[in-house]
C-alpha cells in the first residue's frame, strides 16, 4: 500500500512538472498507441496521429483525473468513483489491470524523459504503486 513517503514522493514529482502535465498526458497516450497498438481499439473515433487535438484533449483529461487522485490519495475510491462507474459501465475498457499497465508504463516513460535521474528508483516505485492503486479503483465496479 502507499506509504506516507510514497505519497510525498508522488506529490513532489507531480509538482516538478511545472505546467507540463498536459504535455505529459498527450505524450503518454501517444506512446501507448505506438507501443501497444491494441489500445487503439478503444479510440476508433479519434484522430490518432501524433499531436492530434483529440490526443491532446484526452491526455489533458487523463492528467486532470490523476491530479485529482494525487490530491486525494487517502480516499482514492471516493475521488475516482465517477470514473470507476464510467469505465465499468460505459467504456468497458478491458479491466484496467491490463490496459492501465500499458498506460502506467507509458506515463512513467513520459515522466522519466522529462525528469531523468530525478526519476529515482524510489520515485519509480511510488508511481508504479500509485498507478496500480488507481487501476484497482477503476476496476472496482466491473463485476
Amino acid at each position: 500500500m502507499l506509504t506516507a513517503e510514497d505519497k510525498k514522493l508522488i506529490q513532489q514529482i507531480w509538482g516538478k512538472l511545472g505546467g507540463a502535465e498536459e504535455e505529459v498526458g498527450a505524450d503518454a497516450l501517444n506512446r501507448m498507441f505506438h507501443a501497444y497498438p491494441p489500445t487503439k481499439t478503444y479510440f476508433p473515433h479519434f484522430d490518432l496521429s501524433p499531436g492530434s487535438d483529440q490526443i491532446r484533449g484526452h491526455g489533458k483529461k487523463v492528467v486532470a483525473a490523476l491530479t485529482t487522485a494525487i490530491k486525494n490519495m487517502d480516499n482514492l475510491s471516493q475521488a475516482l468513483s465517477e470514473l470507476s462507474n464510467l469505465h465499468a459501465y460505459n467504456l468497458r475498457v478491458d479491466p484496467p489491470c491490463f490496459s492501465l499497465q500499458f498506460l502506467s508504463q507509458c506515463l512513467q516513460v513520459s515522466l522519466a524523459t522529462r525528469l531523468g535521474k530525478d526519476y529515482s528508483p524510489e520515485v519509480h516505485s511510488a508511481v508504479d504503486k500509485f498507478m496500480s492503486a488507481v487501476a484497482s479503483v477503476l476496476a472496482e465496479k466491473y463485476r
Binding site: 505524450d27 501517444n30 506512446r31 505506438h34 507501443a35 501497444y36 501524433p50 508504463q105 507509458c106 512513467q108 516513460v109 522519466a112 524523459t113 522529462r114 525528469l115 531523468g116 535521474k117 526519476y119 528508483p121 524510489e122 519509480h124 516505485s125 508504479d128
Partner: protein, 147 residues
C-alpha cells in the same frame, strides 16, 4: 519467428550503443527488487536487501545486473534467433531457478524506464515502441522452454 523492420533494428542498436551495460544492468536489477519486492525471493543469498540504499549498493545485485544485461546484448546480436539464443537460459530459469515468466516482463518494462532516464527525449515514442517489442520478445523467448 519475429519480424524486425530495418528501422526497428536501427533504433535498437543505436540505443544499445549508448548503454553502459554495467551501470544500466545494476540499476535495472536494483529497481526490479525495489519496485516489485516479491522478486527478492529469488535472491535470498544476496545478503542485505533491506532498504533502497542497501539494494542499490549491494555488490551481488550489481554483478548480477551486469550479467543479465550482458545476456541482453547477445540477444541484440541475434535478433533473428532469440528462441535459439535463450534456449539454455530458458531451461535454467524453469528447471533450476523456478522463476515465474511474468517476472521477465516486469524486468523488461523496468529496463525501458532505466534507458529512458538516461536518454531523455531521445527515447522517442517510435524508439520506445521498438524496445517494448524487444523486451516482450526476449521475455517470450525466455519462457519458451518452460514446461
Amino acid at each position: 519467428m519475429v519480424h524486425w523492420s530495418a528501422e526497428e533494428k536501427q533504433l535498437i542498436t543505436s540505443v544499445w550503443a549508448k548503454v553502459n551495460v554495467e551501470e544500466c544492468g545494476a540499476e535495472a536489477l536494483a529497481r526490479l527488487l525495489l519496485v516489485y519486492p516479491w522478486t527478492q525471493r529469488f535472491f535470498s543469498d544476496f545478503g542485505n536487501l533491506s532498504s533502497p540504499t542497501a539494494i542499490i549498493g549491494n555488490p551481488k545485485v550489481r554483478a548480477h545486473g551486469k550479467k543479465v544485461l550482458t545476456s541482453f546484448g547477445e540477444a541484440i546480436k541475434n535478433l533473428d534467433n532469440l528462441k535459439g539464443t535463450y534456449s539454455k537460459l530458458s531451461e535454467l530459469h524453469c528447471d533450476k531457478l523456478h522463476v515465474d515468466p511474468e517476472n521477465f516482463r516486469l524486468l523488461g518494462d523496468i529496463l525501458v524506464i532505466v534507458l529512458v532516464s538516461h536518454l531523455g527525449r531521445d527515447f522517442t515514442p517510435v524508439c520506445q515502441s521498438a524496445w517494448q517489442k524487444l523486451v516482450g520478445v526476449v521475455a517470450h523467448a525466455l519462457a519458451h522452454k518452460y514446461h
